[in-house]
Amino acid sequence: MSKKNPEYDFKWCPGCGDFGVRRALELSMINRLEETGLPIENNVVVAGIGCSGNLVHLLEGQQPYGIHGIHGRTLPVAMGVKMARPELNVVVVAGDGDFLSIGGEHIAPQAARNVNVTAVIMDNGVYGLTKGQSSPTTEMGTITSSTPFGKIEEDLDPLELYLTLGVSFIASGFSGQPRVLARLINEGMNHDGMSMIHVQSPCVTYNDTFQLIKGNAKEGIAPALWDIPEDHDPSSKQAAYDLVQQGGLPVGVIYKDEARASLEGNMGSIRAKARERSAEQLMDAYSF
């Protein structure tokens, strides 16, 4: 909302990867509007705390609803919104620190429930907003402001984690490709279940990985980025594991389980079994 709003006082650093992710989300919401005819207000963006989370304020154009709450709690908040109002499209935007460190506890349960929300994670391998501390995805050995002698923790592989936890839709992307990313986000939104869109979105100020990702011919740096081949079968978990093992930054859909019911779907089956009663009827059980 920044353009319209002089009081809002946060800006991303010039060149920050998050600009591309913002563009991608704007595009995907417009695509969705065209696909479904549902207004932009039908989207709820639940944002984590971090440079990344500020995306919810920086979106241009027609505005979705947003929640910018406390650090690490995007998933349960999103679950609350979705299960209260299943007709809404709920999107989580958060950073690697917010989602994988302090918020890490919420991934497993949401994956087990297969809550139908789409999470877009802006992974820059660092805590940006607090000025450059290490995050779970910071490479072991890296020197950051909080690891002055090098990080002595093994770095986490989020994609493998999502697979193991049973996330039913997993895609990987790069902030430098907003249109590709938008398509992945839309596919996640259309998937009836939990969707993870894990995005490499470099922090140019504290952990600039643009060159590593895109490569640099002159300096003989091969790009980490690679497109997932057409023939990859996202319905196969084994294929997904193998793909993730190859390392680098794969772009595309890694895994997709369309057979599994979402939490909303399973609640339906409960409703079928259960007998709904009014407060008056419920009181009768205690009445004399």
Binding site: V56, I70, R73, P76, V81, F288
Partner: protein, 569 residues
Amino acid sequence: MLMNDFVVRFAGEGGQGVVTSAEGLAQASTQVGYHAMTYATFPSQILGGPTWTQARISTEQTLSSGDQVDVLVAFNEEAYETHAEEVREGGVIIYNADDFTMTDPRSFGLAVDTLARSTGNNRAANMVVIGALAQLVHMPQEYLEDFVEARFRRGRDNDDEIISSNIEAMKLGRQNAAESGFVLGDLAPPHPPDYQQLMLKGNEAIALGATHAGVQFYAGYPISPATTILLWMERNLVGEDKFAYQVSSEIEAITAILGAGYAGKKSMTATAGPGISLMSEGLGLAWMAEIPLVVVDVQRGGPATGLPTKTEQSDLMGCLFPAHGDVRMPIIAPGSVEECFYGAVQAVNWAERYQGPVILMSEMSMAERVQNIPRPDLSKVPVEERLTYEGGNGYHRYSGNELSPMPLPGAPGAYVANGSEHDEMGDTTHLPSRHIQMTERRFSKLKLLEDDNYESDNPQAKIALMPWGGSKGPVREAYDALREEGIDIGWYYTMNLHPIPPKLRDELRAKELVIVPELNYQGQWANILRFHRVNSTPITQYTGLPFKVSDLVTRVKEIMAEHMEEARA
């Protein structure tokens, strides 16, 4: 001689029917028009373990479970050892002759299980006990038979069998009691109320109240003594547009209901102290972003994991000020099973009315006791809906210094519910003027919750008693006793701990002294009253048990005496 009051304590091992016997006696009595209240304790282990339950039968409304035990039913020897001294003089002890024997002159044995088995119904043991108890106070047999009829007539082929065997069991109990020669007196006949009643526990009353108030979203994590609310909701909050679910922690519970509250649903969770501590940050966010939700704190002994199966009123400071920053939660603290129902309705109404978090503070002792209450006439219990925004886009959700309509996702009026300080659209800002406006806005909304709902009695007295929450019953009984003794003391009580009814606050300020009996060490409510410039002093107890009326009477007199001393000095 005629008794208006009959108190029985059942003690034994978990699983011996301690609870079912007590609740059976209570039910039998309320069926025929008596008032009844039980008090249950729980073993900390899962199977077995020493436990006891007390049932009080009375011709009048019961306020406490009573500290004068007329009859002790001891299911095993340990139970006898532990509870014998609680029996009032002239009282009787019935011991389970199938388990042990003894020679206490006040006692006679009852071969509970053997007698039950002889009726061909092993599960009728508690009926044997109830029969014997009825005999001791000459409660007519037909009373009991009505109850058995009402309880076991379920349209099964063997209904008649079951009913007759249970009646048989009662008769055997009666017969044995009669042969024992013990008599307590005649329980005065009941004055059957002419209105419909409910027989239920505090947690059930809260769940029913919340349901009537329109709660449609419940997320919770198991914790004693709040678990039964979660289980109730998972069984009953089902159907279209309803959601009840066990999440992975209290942090998920509070943030999930926050999302639901934002999305427009009336949402709630219930927990105990440890959960309240984990919900701190989420409660602060609900306050900051102005999102309606209700948290029930069924208090148990604290701090930390504390005393999960004991009762206490020590979470007040933690609930009023759960988080960092300038926050102060609305607090409703019911004082009886009936108030648990109305308090729950009010909590939901408050949350929707002022658009923010509300905490309903109950207690272990109310959560688990059974009590008869008048059946609420739902058509007379108003339910409030939140003020929602109906206009177009470009709305400023946080404009002004007071409550404003709340937009709901899906409809125009998109904004960001923001946990950072924000401007009128909900975007983050650091302007001093905005922090001033929004802070005043958040506190000004509390005014919408102020009312004049409080009890007062003998208002001209210079010294007053003011309990809160579950101590209301015993304190009221003590108050009545003191008044009968001709002592000039006043009575004040409200469920609305915050915001406190302004008139009540002013009345209290005018007192020389306000005495606050409460089940904690610090005298938490007494402290808060001094916040309000009321001269208060607490009577504290931190045993994990409720107050005894007799103790209260003594301690109030002591404090009043001291006060006179000082006044003279």
